[in-house]
């Protein structure tokens, strides 16, 4: 890994690191501890960060492709017969979470219920948010949609602001 393990005063060298990504997924931090005879600091850490996408997710897709095979197995079917919170955790959390591409629930609550419902039913053009109701080719029933809106922003909250 190191170009040479002895460096004279003033000499430069290299440490080459290769990370094997097979089977890796998500946010990864790799550290490498370098132990030398530097009397003041025997141990130094090298750090590498990355977000690994698996082969399915490496490509760009149209928003509504998650409703089709082979994507729907993970992106739709896990939410079958789930409601409200558990439906959100199955179908939405992969994008609506801290560190993801879209707002977490706490952030969405700043919007009006009507706005939330419209975005959920129709999707948002030019983003990865597809329309989830049947009229827009989505997998969710009216009841499921209303349940999600209630979970994201309970009706009672509206009267307070």
């Amino acid at each position: 890994m190191a170009s040479s393990d002895h460096l004279k005063p003033g000499q430069k060298g290299e440490i080459k690191v290769t990370v094997d990504l097979r089977g890796k997924f998500g946010a990864i931090v790799k550290t490498i501890q370098v132990i030398t005879n530097d009397p003041l600091r025997r141990r130094t850490n090298l750090l590498m960060k990355m977000r690994v996408k698996d082969l399915i997710h490496a490509r760009k897709y149209e928003a509504d492709e998650i409703f089709k095979a082979p994507c729907r197995g993970c992106h739709v079917e896990r939410g079958n017969s789930q409601k409200k919170f558990s439906l959100f955790m199955s179908d939405c959390i992969m994008c609506h979470n801290e560190g993801r591409s879209a707002l977490p629930v706490s952030g969405m609550q700043a919007k009006a219920r009507e706005e939330i419902e419209k975005a959920l039913r129709e999707g948002i053009r030019k983003t990865s948010m597809p329309g989830w109701d049947a009229k827009h080719g989505g997998p969710l029933t009216d009841e499921e949609i209303r349940g999600l809106v209630d979970y994201i922003k309970p009706a009672a909250r509206r009267s307070r602001n």
Partner: protein
């Protein structure tokens, strides 16, 4: 007289080499690959330098 002078010089040299010490310097010890695909190769070269006055020996590299 000349002999003693030579001896002192020699001693100073010996002493300073006993204190000579290597200093490992790494300009950028952190690297962010950003988003990469599983079939990419994540490869990076860290530049290191010995900024001390003694020989630097890399004894071991342990990945986590």
């Amino acid at each position: 007289m000349a002999k003693t002078y030579f001896l002192t010089l020699f001693l100073i040299l010996a002493a300073s080499s006993a204190y000579a010490s290597p200093v490992l310097h790494i300009d950028k010890p952190q690297f962010d690959f950003g988003t990469i695909s599983q079939d990419d190769k994540a490869e990076h070269v860290f530049e290191i330098e010995n900024r001390g006055d003694g020989e630097l020996i890399i004894e071991k590299l342990t990945p986590s």
